[in-house]
Symmetry: C2
Subunit: 109 residues, 2 copies
DNA sequence: CTAATGCATTAGTTAATGCTAATGTATTGG
DNA sequence: CCAATACATTAGCATTAACTAATGCATTAG
């Protein structure tokens, strides 16, 4: 059985381009502050904080306050519902498996 | 390079629970008509047609008119952008790889 | 031929959502 | 200390989006 609520949350959260860009940027960096995320994002700091809240609620990121700054990092488990969902319908992108296979070997040979 | 527009479309399309349910139902059946999709969907036939239009634009489904009925089927390639996106960030759900591995073997041993 | 069926489309309503601007609350630098 | 910095939160606004009801168009049944 698939966790409908979890997939729902993750999909909805990552559907917004701005928020997904924020997530991708967090993923790319080990840890990153709100100021850095705001810079070059095209939106205000308040908007970034709102997106971070959504990402946190979806379990996609975690925070680490340090002084007056807050460092954000990606939460790998958050993508699990999406992975599971894809897995459930895996038979329908069978032709993509070659790529995925090589990827798996590349990361964990 | 990641196809931002494609991921955007697929994510946005699958983010809606009703529409995703329609897609899942199309995936589960080989081919299915609009009447069947409407039955038990909780929404009107018009809504279903609208969702089908979105899914078609996202490249997730294809249609085959036959008489006054239209049969819909899943379009595997449509999920490619999502697979690619996941692959790009694969290093961050490394722990899910065991599951994915067994899945791969299950489908294509 | 005529009525019924299957589907698409449109207009209009309602709810959700992303944004800004402003404000509040800690924390640190000078 | 006190001003500045970092972040969160709120209210308000504009836009998007999902839905219904209604209508139109084609196709088949009787």
């Amino acid at each position: 059985m698939i966790e409908t609520a979890a997939i729902n949350a993750v999909m909805r959260t990552l559907a917004d381009p701005t928020r997904r860009a924020v997530f991708e940027r967090i993923v790319s960096s080990d840890e990153i502050t709100v100021v850095e995320l705001t810079r070059g994002s095209g939106v205000t700091q308040g908007a970034i904080s709102q997106h971070l809240k959504s990402l946190k609620l979806a379990g996609l990121v975690a925070e680490r306050p340090e002084g007056r700054r807050v460092f954000y990092r990606a939460e790998p488990e958050g993508l699990a519902p999406l992975v599971d969902w894809m897995g459930h319908y895996a038979v329908f992108w069978r032709e993509r498996f070659a790529n995925l296979r090589s990827l798996l070997k590349e990361i964990d040979p």
